[in-house]
């Protein structure tokens, strides 16, 4: 199990950062989404054991997070959002030090530092002092430092910040590989919804310290009704009227086609409506709701915890 929080509340003085949050993350990749102040950082702090909850319980990797949270951090890798590095050391030295701090002996840490630096694409520059690295290289170095001790749970806070498009794609590929092929539990906190969509199979939306929605990505993205993007030759108004008569709803898409929300067995209904209205269907694809739209709708709907 990755982590489990039950009725978690976190306060900083009078400020309520998290309120009655219940989540269960078994395995795979979990995306943590929310605007600034939503409570993402507070949740990460609690998972890492830096903040004691004011109410509720937290279990990470099956262990309760309490006074011995620092021991639990041997099994967790954390990639911070900020631009961080260990000064006055080269990449190999700093990654090996991170490994040793997590309990690897000197030889293992050094060998693993070399391996991981190759894995993240810094193999050729691993002997350079880290302060001379570019922003993209520093992001990769942070990932190497988070991975060197082979964590069971990897927490990534905005891992693609400051990366160019190619670097971003490579980083997402590495991360996806870790979660899918290497069996590491992965928590990705990001403002970039496409990143979460590309990597995660589960998602949690936080807003004002509460869970707006949570669940598997594919379930959340699937509309309650089936939606299709349709373009017809003929009279679109007559086609829309025929659809309305059959219980479907239509809206115009920005690209000039019709978005049709249908009850079950919608494709057959579409062809029936086209036949009745004398139109030809020239374009028909299932329309998929994007994470951006889902996020906006969830914020509009308000809190609805569904862990």
């Amino acid at each position: 199990m990755g982590f489990e929080v039950e009725h978690l509340s976190v306060r900083y003085g009078r400020q309520q950062a998290l309120q009655d949050v219940s989540l269960r993350f078994e395995s795979g990749a979990l995306g943590l989404l929310g605007p600034n102040g939503a409570g993402k950082s507070s949740l990460l702090r609690t998972l890492l054991g830096f903040v004691a909850p004011s109410a509720g319980s937290v279990r990470v990797l099956g262990e309760p997070v309490g006074r011995d949270a620092h021991e639990l951090r041997r099994r967790i890798g954390y990639h911070p959002e900020d631009d961080v590095l260990i000064p006055a050391m080269n990449a190999v030295g700093s990654v090996a030090l991170c490994g040793q701090l997590a309990g690897l002996d000197h030889t293992d840490a050094l060998q693993r530092a070399h391996e991981i630096l190759y894995f993240v694409g810094l193999g050729e520059v691993r002997y350079r002092i880290a302060t001379t690295y570019s922003q993209g290289m520093r992001q990769r170095l942070k990932l190497a430092q988070a991975l060197v001790h082979d964590p069971e749970l990897l927490i990534l806070d905005e891992p693609t910040n400051g990366l160019d498009p190619n670097g971003r794609q490579e980083m997402l590929k590495l991360i996806r590989d870790l979660a899918t092929a290497k069996g590491i539990h992965l928590v990705l906190s990001s403002h970039l919804l496409p990143d979460v969509e590309a990597v995660c199979d589960q998602v949690v939306l936080l807003h004002n310290g509460r869970v707006l929605t949570a669940g598997r990505m594919e379930d959340l993205l699937k509309s309650a009704q089936e939606t299709y993007e349709v373009r017809v030759k003929g009279a679109p108004e007559a086609f829309a009227a025929a659809l309305l008569a059959r219980g479907a709803r239509t809206t115009s898409s920005p690209r000039g086609s019709l978005l049709v929300q249908t009850p079950a067995h919608g494709v057959r209904l579409l062809f029936d409506a086209a036949h009745t209205s004398g139109c030809q269907i020239r374009h028909l694809v299932p329309a998929r709701e994007s994470l951006v739209e889902m996020f906006a709708q969830a914020v509009d709907r308000g809190p609805h915890a569904d862990p």
């Binding site: 950062a17 600034n36 102040g37 409570g39 993402k40 950082s41 507070s42 990460l44 702090r45 890492l48 830096f50 903040v51 620092h70 021991e71 639990l72 951090r73 041997r74 967790i76 954390y78 911070p80 959002e81 900020d82 631009d83 961080v84 590095l85 260990i86 000064p87 006055a88 050391m89 030295g93 700093s94 030090l97 991170c98 040793q100 701090l101 997590a102 309990g103 690897l104 002996d105 293992d108 060998q111 693993r112 070399h114 391996e115 991981i116 190759y118 894995f119 193999g123 302060t131 942070k142 430092q145 991975l147 001790h149 082979d150 806070d157 590989d177 870790l178 290497k182």
Partner: protein, 288 residues
């Protein structure tokens, strides 16, 4: 396992139980020893030891013939007075070592936000501070009690006698006691000053100010008021007073050694409290 294989592999080893502060301290020591300034200061300190080995040599030689003139020079003996002189005269060197090896230690970490890396590991704030203190503790020890005790041991071996211990039984305790106080106060003060800024240069400047300004202020205020209690403001004066007291020598100021000792402990406690306030684990995860 070939390092050219770039795929991710799980690690199969066993985790060691070495204290993380020890690991961090060893890494910090390697970084400190890479600095030329630190190596030069250690070399200069070594020259001091060589000079005192010369004194030891002269002491063990019969003071006759060509060395007969040494008979009337009481200085040529490794006694309590000489050891006090040895420890006190290296004060400037010790301050410079603090500047070279300690002033930037936490400031650099703050500048590059390295705390987020360290404290996200199984490392608590006290472990981190202990690790950061290791290079200073070791380097300052190398220029205080280690050579002093070594000289006493060499003297015992060279003279094949422990007569000095009968004459001055307090000497090893004085060396260890004073050195411990000096190392603890300088280390805690340097780290506290380093933690107050994220600019390494500013940290060095602040440390110079913290060491020198109270000394100047104490000199001026004592001169104006003819009251030695102002010496309590100056770390240098406090160390002088405590050193003389421990070595049973004439104290330089009209000041209770106990008051000086209490003030030193208060300084150390204040520096540690400041460090614990400035280095906080909750800052590891940014944002709200």
């Amino acid at each position: 396992m070939p390092i050219h294989d770039v795929s991710y592999r799980h690690w199969q080893g066993t985790r060691s139980n070495r204290p993380p502060s020890f690991v961090l301290g060893a890494a910090q020591l390697r970084v400190a020893l890479r600095r030329r300034g630190v190596r030069v200061l250690l070399l200069v300190s070594g020259l001091f030891v060589i000079a005192y080995l010369g004194i030891l040599y002269l002491e063990t030689m019969p003071r006759e013939g060509a060395l007969g003139f040494l008979r009337d020079i009481p200085f040529v003996s490794l006694d309590g007075r000489t050891m006090k002189f040895f420890l006190m005269r290296q004060r400037l060197l010790q301050y410079m070592l603090c500047l070279a090896a300690g002033a930037e230690v936490i400031a650099l970490d703050r500048r590059y936000r390295a705390l987020q890396i360290y404290l996200a590991r199984p490392l608590r704030v006290p472990d981190y501070l202990a690790g950061k203190a290791v290079p200073m503790l070791l380097l300052l020890s190398l220029v205080t009690w280690v050579p002093a005790i070594l000289l006493l041991v060499l003297k015992s071996v060279a003279t094949a006698s422990l007569e000095w211990l009968r004459d001055e039984p307090h000497l090893p305790f004085a060396i260890m006691g004073y050195s411990t106080l000096l190392v603890a106060s300088l280390t805690s003060l340097t780290l506290a000053v380093s933690s107050m800024t994220s600019s390494p240069r500013l940290a060095s400047g602040q440390l110079v100010a913290v060491l020198l300004l109270p000394m100047a202020a104490a000199d001026i205020l004592t001169g104006l008021t003819h009251n030695d209690n102002w010496r309590l403001l100056s770390l240098d004066s406090l160390l002088d007073q405590v050193c003389s007291w421990m070595f049973r020598a004439e104290p330089p100021y009209e000041l209770s050694p106990w008051a000086a000792l209490v003030m030193l402990f208060l300084m150390i406690a204040g520096a540690i409290a400041l460090l614990l306030r400035r280095v906080r684990a909750v800052d590891v995860v940014g944002g709200s």
